[in-house]
Amino acid sequence: MNQLASLLPLLIIIAAGLIILIMEAFGRGGSRLPHAALAVVALIGGLIYSFSFFGKNAGYFSGAYVLDDVAILLFAIFSLAGILVVLLSVTAMVEHDFNRGEVFALLLFAVAGLMIMASSQDLVVIFLGLETLSISSYVLAGLKKQDQKSSEAAIKYFLLGSLASAFLVLGLAFIYLQAQSLSLNEITHLSSADLASPVFLVGLCLVLIGFGFKVALVPFHMWTPDVYQGAPTPITAFFSTGPKAAGFVVLLRIFWPILRSELSPSSFPLILWILSALTMIVGNLVALRQKNVKRLLAYSSIAHAGYLTVAILSRDARGLIFYLLAYLFMNIGAFAILVALSSKGQEFHELDDFNGLSLRAPWLAASMSLFLFSLAGFPPTAGFLAKFYVFSQAVKQGLTSLVIVAVLASLVSVYYYLRVIVHMYMVKETPAQVAVKGDNPLLLLIVFFCVYGVLYLGLFPRAIIGLLQKAISSLSLL
């Protein structure tokens, strides 16, 4: 159904981003609260408006932009991530030298990029979205102008990101060569002979490399720890959730038809299988050795990309989206705690800085433990149910051996997540210089919201699952 109105959610967000830019250009500095407020209002507005299209499968530009139900749910994830990150930035920006209104504009543009990626059926448009996202991200990573690590992060991200984009474009060219089209609808209807041709396979692998970079699959993950560590913490929270969600949904859309067992070129699932296993194993093993919690979370996010690839491989859209949603809450929650552990341009993210946190800030320590337990996949948290859905579906699709690799990898992860808790609860001596922002109401609100999300998704997710189920049915029509 063609409807110009379905473009509105996207337009609202881009317009708000432009307005913020103008406000910043003609404003006099000072508080950036109005900018932030506008960003939040735009994100909420876009979200609510997009939900009015739920179940309608509206779209525009003859299939290049389709606001199907999956896209709407993804909008919800992006907007939530966007709102939480905007609020987190407000609590941290003054102290950490990125007190500029562009933050919000760039965040909104990045969210717009994500939305384009999630809602397009055309690979070229998806690429467009990816670039919108990437360019905003490069700038966001380097926001702390005085900080060497931040600049290093931006450069690294930019160089490697451009390389990945190049691979992606080359891959698209190969696919076009075989399919004579870049529309996902037409690729879906290719004959199995076309799908099995080496040219197409090379194209797919190059596309996989391009997106593998974005979602941090091993061996395309090298940028992740450095960028995560260098970027301002709220921005890292965004990088680890938003782009990951969009990347995986695009992968799902591209590979969904191709992985249908009767069609799939035999070697392609194997490649994904190996990537997924490698990602889980390497991510978790390297995380074991990290002394810095921010880096640790970076490696853990690599490991989670591995679990998510399991969902791609078993064509499990429901599990994938649920996982992304759960991951959003637990990861942003954990980063919010990291934001709390900082002051005046200093960040206290070494493991030893967490010593005795449970005595100084019991609520923050308890929330952090909850997020870590959720990341490790303990019930009754969202992380457990997310893993549960993904893995059970994978076993049903006959990927038992991959699931065994996955659970063993997550056993390893239990160790390093628990180590943070050991430092918070079981090591007594308190480092003197560590400041804790335990009283910032906005920060506490974010943490509380994430705790609520983690527990709600872990205990009573029936409504959400029902919604997902409805949304997926629109996907299978493809």
Binding site: F373, P379, S392, K396, T400, L411, V414, Y425, R462
Partner: protein, 530 residues
């Protein structure tokens, strides 16, 4: 009932942390209330019905994941044991736990919910959730209030348990997908899954995954290494709960899941499992003999006693299984009590080494009396509870395998040796260390929590039937199901389908029913051959 402790824990969060006594009293009150409720369950329980009773059921997540709890003869006594021991555990830490009193009680009550949940779950998913949830409070209990090597011990405990339970999770998924393939519907209900008969090859792998999880928990012989560490480092209440209740979850897992779900695989692995149990009995006993630390001595004695329980379980006959259930309760009582007493001694002397004591009975005659009773109960003196369980277990094992039974009797001899020798060195003899002279005997609080345990020991010892009769029907049903389940494999080589579902009522004609289901997928030649 399950969630009452959790509700209590949540309320505790809101009591300010300076009011330590209020926390203690409130936790005691909640755990006593839970115990009272479980007594009500006990009295409402109808011993003649084999299936689960007092059921609560509600939709939870859909796709076969329901909130479904109830008790039957297999779980009733364990539920009672759990609720009985928690007030005792709360009392035992009354003064010893002086830091973070609030968190301590929150975790303790949280743990109680987790354990009760495992025992009453009738839905496999729910079972798994509780099984895992229970790790979190235990992790904190050992890690926060434990001894010097507590962090090593607690992480070892969590990782060992997780290793088993994650592989079990994969097996659960496989089971679930087989059920879906066989029926086209989703179900995690244990009762539904029990009706499914899988091919022996599949059963083997699934059984191994389940068995690993449970064997680690029990712990059976090569998987026991976490136990002494966790026990030695845990605070008294932690050790009591760990020994008395947590270990039982492993045995219960075999009883509730592994045996009825995979009888064919159980039959195949019985020799191996029995030999491992036997090694556990003898090895645990030997290790206990040479321990210098009282607490690790009791810990190794647990390994030995749990070996006997497992041996009885795999004998798969009425006496043996009933014996192992009652022996689980006995072991909970006697080992729990021994840990309590070790805790009392530790509070006075701050050492657990046997050589640091000696002649304690002169200063503490009341403790000496309690200690002796618990000891004798643990080594199976007639008239006390241990005797009933051990004799039933050994009878059962004897029916199954005579050689095993002869060797298993060593458990009694070894127990007598290491326990009495330890008692002699700790309680009798001259007073070597001066600080022993300053020991005060038990105070009222300590007597209040030891006395009920000892009373129960006599009660079970003298009137075992009061407890045992509750298990009759359920054990019979379990054994009958296992038998009927295995009858299906008369046809095993001809089956095309990987899984079939037995009729709900387990009719006597199970063989015909099974062959009817199978035959729809049999090739014509096989049909003729039949």
């Amino acid at each position: 009932m399950t969630f009452l402790p959790l509700a209590g824990a949540i309320l505790l969060i809101f009591i300010p942390k300076e009011r330590k006594d209020i926390h203690r009293l409130f936790a005691l009150f909640v755990s006593l209330l839970t115990f009272a409720l479980s007594l009500f369950v006990f009295s409402a329980f109808d011993a003649s019905r084999p299936e689960a009773q007092l059921i609560e059921k509600g939709m939870w997540l859909g796709y076969g994941i329901n909130y479904h709890v109830g008790v039957d003869g297999l779980s009733l006594l364990l539920v009672l044991l759990t609720t009985f021991l928690f007030p005792v555990a709360v009392l035992s830490g009354w003064h010893y736990i002086d830091q973070r009193v609030k968190e301590y009680h929150i975790f303790l009550l949280f743990l109680e919910t987790g354990i009760l949940g495992v025992f009453v779950s009738l839905n496999l998913f729910l079972f798994y959730v509780f099984w895992e949830v229970m790790l979190i409070p235990m992790y904190f209990l050992i890690g926060l209030w434990g001894g010097p090597r507590r962090i090593y011990a607690t992480i070892k405990f969590v990782l060992f348990t997780m290793l088993g339970s994650l592989l079990m999770l994969v097996a659960i998924f496989v089971l679930y997908s087989y059920y879906y393939k066989a029926t086209g519907t989703y179900s995690f209900e244990i009762a539904d899954l029990n009706r499914m008969v899988l091919l022996p090859g599949v059963q083997t792998w699934l059984f191994l995954a389940f068995a690993l999880a449970f064997a680690i928990k029990v712990p059976m012989f090569p998987f026991h290494t976490w136990l002494p560490d966790a026990h030695v480092e845990a605070p008294t209440a932690g050790s009591v709960i760990l020994a008395a209740v947590l270990l039982k979850m492993g045995v219960y897992g075999f009883l509730r899941l592994a045996i009825p779900l995979f009888p064919e695989a159980v039959a195949r692995f019985t020799p191996l499992l029995m030999v491992l149990s036997l090694i556990g009995i003898i090895y645990g006993g030997m290790m206990a003999l040479i321990q210098k630390d009282v607490k690790s001595l009791v810990a190794y004695s647990s390994v030995s006693h749990m070996g006997l329980i497992m041996l009885a379980l795999f004998s798969l006959n009425q006496e043996a299984i009933q014996g192992s259930i009652i022996q689980m309760v006995n072991h909970g009582l006697s080992t729990g009590a021994l840990f309590l007493i070790v805790g009392i001694l530790y509070e006075r002397a701050h050492t657990r080494l046997i050589k640091d004591y000696g002649g304690v009975s002169r200063q503490m005659p009341v403790l000496a009396a309690f200690f002796l009773v618990c000891l004798l109960s643990s080594l199976g003196l007639p008239g006390l509870n241990g005797f009933v369980g051990e004799i039933l277990c050994l009878f059962g094992v004897f029916q199954a395998n005579k050689v095993m039974a002869y060797l298993a009797v060593t458990t009694v001899i070894l127990a007598a040796a290491y326990l009495l020798w330890m008692y002699q060195r700790v309680m009798h003899g001259p007073i070597v260390h001066d600080y022993v002279r300053s020991f005060r005997d038990l105070n009222l609080r300590e007597i209040v929590y030891l006395a009920p345990v000892v009373v129960l020991m006599f009660w079970v010892g003298i009137f075992p039937n009061f407890f045992l009769r509750n298990t009759d029907a359920s054990v019979q049903l379990l054994l009958r199901r296992v038998e009927e389940h295995r009858k299906v494999f008369v046809l095993k080589d001809k089956a095309v389908q990987p899984a079939i579902i037995l009729p709900a009522d387990y009719s006597q004609e199970v063989k015909q029913a099974a062959s009817a289901v199978f035959s729809s997928n049999l090739t014509p030649e096989v049909k003729e051959a039949k």
